[in-house]
């Protein structure tokens, strides 16, 4: 599958979790795509941690404003009904459980629901940003990611070995191969991506997977 198609598929699967009126925060990169796949008939309000509720899509070219940006610095718009607030309140909102869902990219996740996405020691150290606050507070914490890294290694681990962003915080993991929920019993396979076999997923997953009788599909 093309990379863009994969990303669309992941975004669509995550968007299907959203309910009418939900407040949702999307991380930069892959998660941004979720906004393009909101199911028809429902309205979702996007929060950006730098200080807006009601973030809208990119402006028309030439209409960008320096003081209307998302958490990655990219230009956004404000939808009718939007509000601006300072970062102190924005993160109070996030940590206090008022945001229904946050979606983040990940370097690694594990079967306990931990996530690593802020540094690779000795290599990349972009820093934490708002990610640690987001994973500690949102009601649903979703990782949107590719199942394997570019060397073919599983990014779905028994235990993350990179420095953690959040310890036991995820509720859902959606990759180009599967959707998996973190449950008290362990990592539960929920859906397979169309064209991916159960065997493919098991081979591509380092974590212990709970395989229920009925597994759905997504595309």
């Amino acid at each position: 599958m093309e990379k863009d198609n994969k990303r669309d598929m992941i975004s669509r699967r995550i968007a299907a979790e959203l309910k009418d009126g939900d407040y949702c925060n999307l991380g930069i990169g892959l998660p941004t795509g979720v906004a393009n796949h909101i199911p028809p008939g429902i309205t979702v309000y996007f929060q950006s941690e730098n200080g807006i509720l009601g973030a809208g899509p990119k402006p028309e070219p030439g209409m960008e404003e320096a003081d209307l940006i998302n958490a990655g610095g990219g230009p956004i718009t404000a939808i009718p009904g939007a509000s601006y607030f300072d970062s102190f309140w924005s993160f109070s909102m996030i940590r206090g459980g008022h945001v229904d869902m946050t979606v983040l990219g990940a370097l690694q996740v594990d079967q306990e629901g931990s996530i690593a996405n802020w540094m690779i020691p000795g290599k990349v150290v972009p820093g934490i940003g708002g990610a640690m606050d987001l994973v500690s507070g949102a009601k649903q914490v979703v990782a949107a990611m590719e199942h394997m890294d570019k060397y073919g290694n599983s990014k779905i681990m028994k235990k993350c070995n990179l420095p953690l962003t959040g310890y036991r915080v995820l509720t859902l993991i959606v990759t180009d191969m599967a959707a998996m929920r973190i449950t008290p019993e362990g990592l539960l396979l929920v859906d397979l991506a169309e064209g991916v076999s159960l065997d493919d997923v098991i081979k591509a997953t380092d974590a212990d997977l709970i395989i229920p009788d009925n597994v759905g599909t997504f595309n």
């Binding site: 003081d67 300072d86 931990s114 934490i128 606050d133």
Partner: protein, 217 residues
């Protein structure tokens, strides 16, 4: 009541070794003119507190290309390669602070608190060595106040009492930083007379502002 001064005068107040906070999020809400003025100063060993170091050539970014900054408390440096290079080379020490907790810690300093118990980063390196509290089955870590000597902030307009209003999302870290430092210097596009702002529209009350600089002056 704040005094109106020039950008040069503002920059001249800051000395080597000072703890300074600079407001803004990826340049939005950052006092870029004050950054330019500070860039011209021949000082070093600053301790810089900011959400991020912006871009290599904009916002806080240029400060990092000179020896000005020795230590950083920051949540993100991913948009500034110079910061990453100098950090990896051991030329700058960094304490990474989760963005919301950075706001909390600065606010704690500005509001006279001794610290807060935070749920953020429990089970990660952020929690290492920190006092914990167990409450209703959750673990919290003690985060201490972060205080600055100077805060350099940015608003759209100030009245002559230092009351501030912002453009759109640019308020981000400005109010908490105005509270969290001994001396707050605000850069604005416009200075208006007392009474021109409505009491309801003021975002940052003038009590937190010590000096006002009009951008470019």
């Amino acid at each position: 009541m704040p005094r109106i001064i020039s950008g040069k005068e503002a920059a001249a107040m800051i000395s080597s070794g000072d703890r300074i906070m600079v407001a803004g999020f990826l340049v939005s809400g950052c006092p870029e003119y004050l950054m330019d003025c500070l860039y011209e100063r021949d000082i070093d060993n600053l301790h810089l507190i900011a959400i991020s170091t912006d871009y290599d050539d904009r916002g806080i970014g240029r400060l990092i290309s000179k020896p000005h900054v020795k230590t950083l408390q920051v949540s993100h440096i991913g948009t500034n390669r110079t910061t990453q290079t100098r950090y990896k080379a051991g030329e700058i020490d960094i304490e990474f602070v989760p963005q919301g907790i950075l706001m909390e810690r600065i606010r704690a300093a500005g509001a006279g608190l001794g610290g807060i118990f935070s749920p953020v980063g429990v089970g990660t390196v952020i929690a290492e060595g920190k006092q914990t509290l167990e409450e209703n089955g959750r673990t919290y870590i003690l985060e201490k106040p972060i205080h600055g000597k100077y805060s350099l902030i940015r608003a759209k307009k100030a009245d002559k009492l230092g009351n501030l209003v912002y453009n759109k999302m640019a308020r981000n870290s400005n109010t908490v930083m105005a509270m969290g430092a001994d001396i707050t210097i605000v850069e604005v596009d416009e200075i208006v007379e007392v009474g021109e702002l409505s009491p309801e529209e003021v975002v940052t009350p003038g009590i937190f502002v010590d000096y006002i600089v009009k951008k470019g002056e």
